[in-house]
Amino acid sequence: MSGWWDSAWYRAIWSTLSDVLPGNGELTKDIIKTLLVAIAVAILTWLANRTYRLLKLLKERIFPADDYRWRVERVRSTVRPNGPGLWLAIKQERPPQYDDWMQALPFIMTVANDKGGVGKTTTTVNLAAAFAARLTKPVLVIDLDPQGSASAQMFAGSDWRPKPGHQSPASLAIDGSQLPRWLAGEASAARQFTWKDSKGTTRQTPNALGLAAFYELTETEDRAVAEWLIGDRARDIRYDLFRLLRDPEVRNRFGAVLIDAPPRFSISSIQALCSSTHVLVPTILDNTSSPAVGYFAKQLRRHEALWPRLRVVGILGMMAQNLSLPEGTQNYERGALTSAKDALADNLRATKTELTYLDRLEVPFEIPYELSIPDRSIIGKTGGNGIAYNCLGNNEDGRKVRQVFDDLAAELERRIRGCKPVSSKLWLRPTARHLQPRAATTPLSG
């Protein structure tokens, strides 16, 4: 039986030590030598241990193990009491193209307000129809309200609801999994608006396309947020819709994009605002709805780091009942619009972002009262047949409704045109179908 003590190098060390140690007592020398060897082995063992620990530490630094503690901390940070909140706790990672892409055409306008039932959907779809008549390129409407009210109006007379187990186009759009070709290619997911005429025949609206939403949108929203919070999504989901809509391929396909946002700050709303150049705030002209504009403005201001290029294009009075009152008559609706404007301006004052660009243009935040959407039941009650702008015939009601939204589109266009980067060359039809040319709103040539 032999071991390392029989090896040549050990024998050489042993004999060298015998020569170096003084005296002739071999036993004493053996004891001393044994002790020296033991000390050497201990030192080497200690050194090896330290080296191993150091290498292990280096390995953890370079190749981190899947540690769930940071994931838990990430989620906790979003719900901490008095913390920054869900949408601000995790620092935004804006795509590098954000500034460039936001200055390019087309304009994307989100119609939003925290308060429900103020007419966001009615405004969005009818305004889209009015823009479709004015622009040479198609107008895209994205319904991001899971109730699907805008979808029902956009696609009246056709089967637009997703089949069980399938996702709606709006869900796919916010899910971040679609390539620009999905929206801009030949087989685009965007469908043409449809409506039913007085004989019940389904017709299509040229130049107007939409992405439908339905109740499964909430499931997609929840999944996206959950996966993002625990760190399973590599990209910042707040900009998923931005990446899709502002991609050059999609931008070249559409003349304008309008988004119907849900009445809360869900991921759909956040994505809509992150990808929008403008936001329009509709409000009912009463004492309950006007303050809500202030609350909404506060949220816009609070989250402004997410959308530094977003611009408030105006506050729009909805369901106005006193539009026909003669001048010099008591009209509380004008006061409500003024109060809404005061609340909005007060909450946005001194912001460093683009939210108050109207101030710099010296354009009031409120869209003139005369352009408020009248409280005409006919506008809201055509849902079964389609968008009022399209499906009301050429009778007086139809003409009036179209005039209202054409005038509004012209005013919005004027306000958007005021901001040079986006609006200097809107793609407009040379001769608008429903508009009489007016000095203040002469359409630009495409």
Partner: protein, 190 residues
């Protein structure tokens, strides 16, 4: 400024400011000291007094003064002193006898509208302007209704002066209410 107030014999800052409100002064061009340069120190003084818990009356007067300095920020100090002194002196003379040229009501309404808009949201300043407006004998029912209609919302011509004044104040109060509610929301998103 103190010189102007002292020589003019005005009893209150508000009266002095009211007198120089329409002083005919021209904006300066060049590097002559202007009234605008007084704004930052007065703002700092106001902030200091607010922190120190100064009387509301003092703060109101300072607010009025700031309003004036901002409005005439491009006017040179020397120019302002001479014109303001003249204006104050003429304002402190006894009232003209009947038959004197009437007050330009249109300009008065415009001035009040501008001042109310500028003071909106600043409680001390707004209430000072509002008090002055309420006490102004030149503001009759007709002017009050016109101001209320243009400042906030159209009113019937049959409305009374107090009702019109109340309407003017209500716009400011609604803004303060909205501000309070906004504060209580804090960082919560709906």
């Amino acid at each position: 400024m103190a010189n102007a107030i002292g020589k003019g014999g005005s009893q209150t800052v508000a009266k002095f400011l009211g007198a120089v409100e329409n002083a005919n002064v021209e904006p300066i061009s060049g590097s002559v000291p202007s009234l605008g340069e007084l704004v930052p120190p007065v703002e700092k003084l106001m902030a200091l007094l607010m922190e120190a818990g100064a009387k509301k009356l003092v703060l109101t007067d300072l607010g009025l003064l700031l309003d004036l300095l901002r409005r005439f920020s491009e006017v040179s100090l020397a120019e302002f002193e001479s014109r303001a002194l003249r204006s104050v002196a003429s304002a402190s003379r006894p009232r003209a006898a009947p038959g004197a040229p009437p007050v330009d009501k249109r300009q008065l309404v415009e001035t009040y509208l501008r001042r109310l808009e500028a003071a909106l949201g600043n409680d001390g300043l707004f209430r000072a302007v509002y008090r002055e407006l309420s006490a102004d004998k030149n503001i009759t029912k007709i002017e009050a209704i016109e101001i209320a209609s243009r400042f906030f919302e159209p009113m019937a011509q049959s409305a009374t002066r107090p009702k019109a004044l109340k309407k003017i104040l209500s716009r400011h109060e609604k803004l303060l209410d909205s501000r309070d509610a906004s504060k209580s929301i804090g960082g919560q998103a709906a």
